[in-house]
């Protein structure tokens, strides 16, 4: 398996973490399910995005694949300040967190650490979206490392925010090979 992939085990571990996160649920605990209906879990390195959540408490909001979200400009107006990544992508689709407590699973498959900033856009006031971003998490993520971000560790991860913007700047020297991936989920 290439180093830039999220492995079956890592996804499984992430789901286990999530399962703990939603403790209190019982038969509706989120779990990994087979999307082809055969009854067998089908984590594969080739198709990690095929994994789905089951359970009424959790909803997958967005699975952002290789370089998908390393954008110069996000929907929420954040300007990506780094210019060393090989690819850029402008994602104009907001991550709507209005009805979910958002949580983010990040995997840094690069050979250098990256600096992660997760912004929350303040919840709409009336019909207007407040033009203000708040930083809900900001820190380096080591080369090869994965991390689960939610309100248990970062209190500003809460239903008070409308959307999420994940921004990454490079370390120095800039990462060369690898990918960054994010799975954004929400607790209903």
């Amino acid at each position: 398996m290439a180093n830039d992939e999220i492995s079956m085990q890592q996804l499984y571990d992430a789901w286990k973490t999530l399962e703990d996160w939603v403790k209190g649920s019982s038969t509706d605990k989120p779990k990994v399910v087979n999307v082809n209906g055969s009854g067998t879990e089908i984590f594969t390195d080739e198709t990690p995005g095929a994994v789905k959540l089951a359970g009424r408490y959790v909803k997958e909001l967005k699975f952002m694949e290789t370089n998908f979200w390393i954008g110069k400009t996000s929907h929420l107006g954040y300007i990506h300040s780094g210019s060393n990544f090989p690819n850029t992508y402008s994602d104009t689709t907001p991550i709507d967190c209005r009805h979910f407590e958002p949580s983010v699973f990040l995997k840094n498959g690069y050979d250098q650490h990256v600096n992660v900033t997760i912004y929350g856009h303040l919840r709409p006031s009336g019909s207007q979206i407040e033009d203000r971003l708040v930083v809900v998490a900001q820190e380096p993520l080591a080369a090869g490392a994965s991390k689960f971000y939610n309100k248990d560790s970062y209190p500003l991860f809460s239903a008070s925010i409308f959307g999420l913007c994940i921004a990454v700047t490079s370390s120095s020297p800039a990462p060369t090979t690898g990918t960054l991936r994010a799975l954004v989920i929400g607790r209903v």
């Binding site: 085990q9 571990d13 250098q112 993520l141 080591a142 080369a143 971000y149």
Partner: protein, 73 residues
């Protein structure tokens, strides 16, 4: 270092046989760790490991903690 070395040296931080808990909620696969630090001799020293980390891979804090706990010199 090979995977078995890593599991032995970093035993207090091995998760599920395949991952290292490097602190602050971060975990990394041992395979990836070997890709980064596999060329370091066994047993490693803090200086050996940091010569690969170069202050850019994000492992300095983890290695410092391991050193302070006597996992290596």
């Amino acid at each position: 270092m090979i995977a078995e070395d890593v599991k032995t040296i970093f035993k207090p931080y091995v998760l599920s046989e395949d991952y290292l808990d490097i602190g602050n909620g971060q975990f990394v696969s041992i395979d990836f760790f070997i890709d980064l630090f596999g060329n370091v001799s066994t047993p490693p020293t803090f200086d050996d490991l940091m010569s690969v980390d170069c202050g850019t891979r994000g492992y300095a804090e983890f290695f410092a903690r391991c050193k302070s706990e006597g996992l290596f010199n």
